[in-house]
């Protein structure tokens, strides 16, 4: 056995995030850990990696009892962890990040050349393509993850823990990652990964462990299980992934985007000539591999990035000349793609986060004075309605599990009575039970006559939700597909840059 966790219990106050959990991980296997948001997956891995100290229980690595007093002890025992939120230093180069904390030195000075050389060697040996001299701030999340993995490898890890590694990856990047991981186990290493994507769990893992409410539910070979089994063990009920039934209700145009161009941070055109409309009571999906202009589109529509040309008119107001506050005033609600950066203030309470943006309006404030009582009671309502797993409105957001943080953002934005909802990655890092309820909520917004624009790198999600799907490639909108009877094959071709006309069949409108 590579790793054995025996009766691990971890409490935060009176609350047990892990309750007598025992798991054995065999050497040379890919072991998936699944469970709802807040089930205690991250906590368990943090205990294993020495970031948290268990209240009870023991850890055995390769048959030997170990005390993981700190991450250094875990690293020495051959463990490596890639965290849910990356910990790279943006201004440093790839090689500097990889060797941070274990710099190669000559005559007391850091030997950059040797570090670059070693990084290149590692990257070739393990098939993780990176350019060692590049600055991390210029790289995509997919590459950042490769760097995190290289960091772990450089420290000689044989057991690698990945916390939701694919949450931020495109399908293409995920596939590459899994190929790499397969290579690792083929070479005798062991991989433990946490995921909310059951398809990939079914596809790549050898064994699955299910946690629920901090307790161990089952550990079984993947081959014996179906996806439905996993769902039932995780959530305790069946969850439907079918396309949502709907009536055509599209009303008047709420958002009209015309010939919109924008540049990315490197001043290169990232959004090219996008034109589309979103009507009241319809959901328009934007599909595409991450990094094809979706971020820039969202940023322009929310006033966070200037457009270089073109217009985006929301109910008669051109957004390209307005500040973010004015745009919100005009009727936009925005669920940002990166919740930790633009979605929440991690250090503040749930009520404070839910209050943000309406602090000047009644009933939250009267005569310029905030009414925290109202804020707290409203927050309590929203916590119930959106099933946010927290102890109460005063909980610090940073303490919540990843999926529950996402729900805080959704709760705030969906209760804003905005006519236009821009939702970037609605269910990133959210468990399938919660995915279902978030999708329900989006459908409810649609039924209430809101215009909804959903950007997602998960095509399945758009196929369930969208009335129309626009496919983006290299900053352009390659074509439009009707949500009913959409052909994922064809959308895939368009995502790869094949023109709509050249793909099989005409536009389905």
């Amino acid at each position: 056995m590579a790793v054995e966790l025996i009766g691990v219990t971890k409490r935060f106050g009176a609350f047990a995030a892990n309750d007598d959990v025992s798991i054995a991980v065999r050497r040379g296997e890919i072991h998936a850990i699944i469970g709802e948001n807040g089930a205690g997956k991250t906590t368990l891995m943090n205990v294993l990696f020495g970031l948290l100290q268990p209240d009870e229980g023991a850890i055995r690595i390769e048959g030997k009892d170990m005390v993981m007093a700190d991450p250094a002890a875990a690293i020495a025992a051959g463990l490596g962890m890639v965290h849910q939120h990356f910990k790279l230093v943006p201004s440093l180069s790839v090689a500097e990040n990889v060797f941070l904390g274990m710099e190669i030195r000559r005559n007391g000075l850091i030997d950059h050349a040797a570090q670059i050389e070693k990084t290149r060697e590692l990257s070739e040996r393990f098939g993780l393509k990176v350019e060692p001299t590049e600055r991390v701030s210029l790289l995509s999340v997919g590459i950042e993850q490769r760097i995190e993995i290289l960091k772990v490898l450089a420290r000689g890890a044989r057991i690698i823990i990945l916390d939701e590694p694919t949450a931020v990856l495109t399908p293409q990047e995920s596939r590459e990652l899994f190929q790499t991981l397969r290579g690792f186990v083929a070479g005798g290493m062991t991989v433990i990964f946490i995921s909310h994507h059951l398809e990939e769990v079914m596809e790549v893992s050898d064994t699955v462990t299910v946690l629920r409410n901090g307790k161990h539910v089952a550990t079984r070979p993947t081959a014996e299980l179906t996806k439905a089994d996993l769902v039932r063990m995780m959530v305790g009920r069946d969850v439907s992934f079918a396309r949502r039934r709907r009536e055509r209700t599209a009303g008047s145009v709420v958002l009209e985007v015309k010939n919109l161009w924008a540049r990315d941070d490197r001043r290169l055109p990232a959004l090219r000539d996008a034109s589309f409309t979103v009507r009241a009571g319809e959901i328009v999906g934007i599909a595409g591999v991450a990094g094809n202009g979706q971020t820039e589109l969202a940023e322009v529509l929310t006033g966070l990035r200037p457009a270089s040309h073109g217009s985006a008119v929301l109910k008669g107001r051109d957004l390209t000349t307005q500040s973010p506050a004015q745009i919100r005033e005009a009727g936009l609600a925005h669920v940002p793609g990166d919740r930790m950066v633009r979605g929440v203030d991690g250090g503040a309470s749930i009520s404070a986060n839910l209050l943000m943006g309406r602090q000047t309006r009644a009933p939250w404030s009267r005569n310029g004075i905030l009414d925290w009582q109202v804020a707290a009671s409203q927050a309590a309502d929203m916590i119930k309605r959106f099933d946010i797993r927290a102890r109460g409105p005063q909980d610090t957001v940073k303490r919540l599990s990843g999926g529950n943080i996402q729900k805080v953002v959704l709760a705030r934005e969906f209760t804003n009575d905005a006519d236009f909802l821009l939702i970037d990655q609605p269910t990133r890092g959210v468990d399938i039970g919660a995915q279902e309820s978030i999708h329900d909520e989006i459908m409810r917004q649609r039924a209430a006559g809101r215009a909804v624009l959903v950007i997602s790198v998960q095509l399945d999600e758009l196929l369930t939700l969208a009335d129309r799907i626009l496919v983006m490639f290299n900053g352009r909108i390659m074509g439009e597909v009707d949500g009913d009877g959409a052909d994922s094959e064809r959308i895939g071709m368009m995502m790869a840059g094949v023109e709509a006309g050249a793909a099989t069949g005409g536009a389905a409108r």
Binding site: E96, L109, P269
Partner: protein
Amino acid sequence: MEVLDKLLNVALLVATLRTTAPILLVGLGGSFTTKAGIFNIGLEGQMLVGAFFAVLGSIWSGSAFVGVLCGVAAALVFALVFALLVVTFRANEVVVGLALNILAGGMTISLMKAVFGTRGSIVGHGIVGLPKVQIPWARELLGSWAPLVSGYTPLVYVAFFAVPLLVLFYRRTRLGLYIRVVGEKPEAAEALGISIARIRYVASLLCGLLAGLAGAHLSLGYITMFTENMSSGRGFMAVAILIFSNGDPLRVLGGCLLFGFADAFSLRLQTFGFPSYLILAVPYAVALVALFALSYRSRPRIIRETLESMRKLLSVEPGRADADNTPST
């Protein structure tokens, strides 16, 4: 033409280097804390106690070198208190910095009264100033340009040599790297087992070291005396330079040279009979305006965005006309 000649010559350059030195020293000190993610507004106070105790030490021991050591030690004590309050007890760094500045001002005045029974300044009493360093071959090689490299007090050389050393320090040493990481991404440091608190202490103390040298240079360098509040805002100027330069040694040097030049130039102007209070304000004004202009591109986003949207509003039509070539450039 004659006026210009009088204003701009080798002597002016020499004066510039000389006046740059103290602010450069304290600015480089602040670079450590800035890089480590601490906003250190206490530079002024550290410099002031450095200056005062340098004078004391020099009088007591009769040696300028011991004086410098005393000044550095005093500044280090202040830096240690600063780090203790800010890092260990997590007090607000601006409040602590300001409090220590006020303490430094008051303390030097009352000690002056207690020890020397005077107010205002300490002159004489056998203060030994720092010697001037004469570089032997300078005269032969450079002729009339010699004063540019030779004949300064030692701390001027220390200040300018510290610049490349700091560049090397941040790029090539482990401590320098960790200081940067702690300032930029503390969670990364923590995850790798680098103690954030320890690095911040070290950065604070390194800062105190250089601030103490800066103070000693003020009181033992060219004028051997101590006057009440003798740092006269140089520490604050350094803070401004640090904000604009983000603590990068080369950019700190640039900012300090600018200030030093303005300072030297205004002293020059004094000989032309301008009112002295106006002249004393010149270096500060010049440096601030220039820094603002230099950091044009990193101005607060809000100003930039306002300008950008104004430009967009004004040029809606032309923008439309060259629509096709704009994005492809």
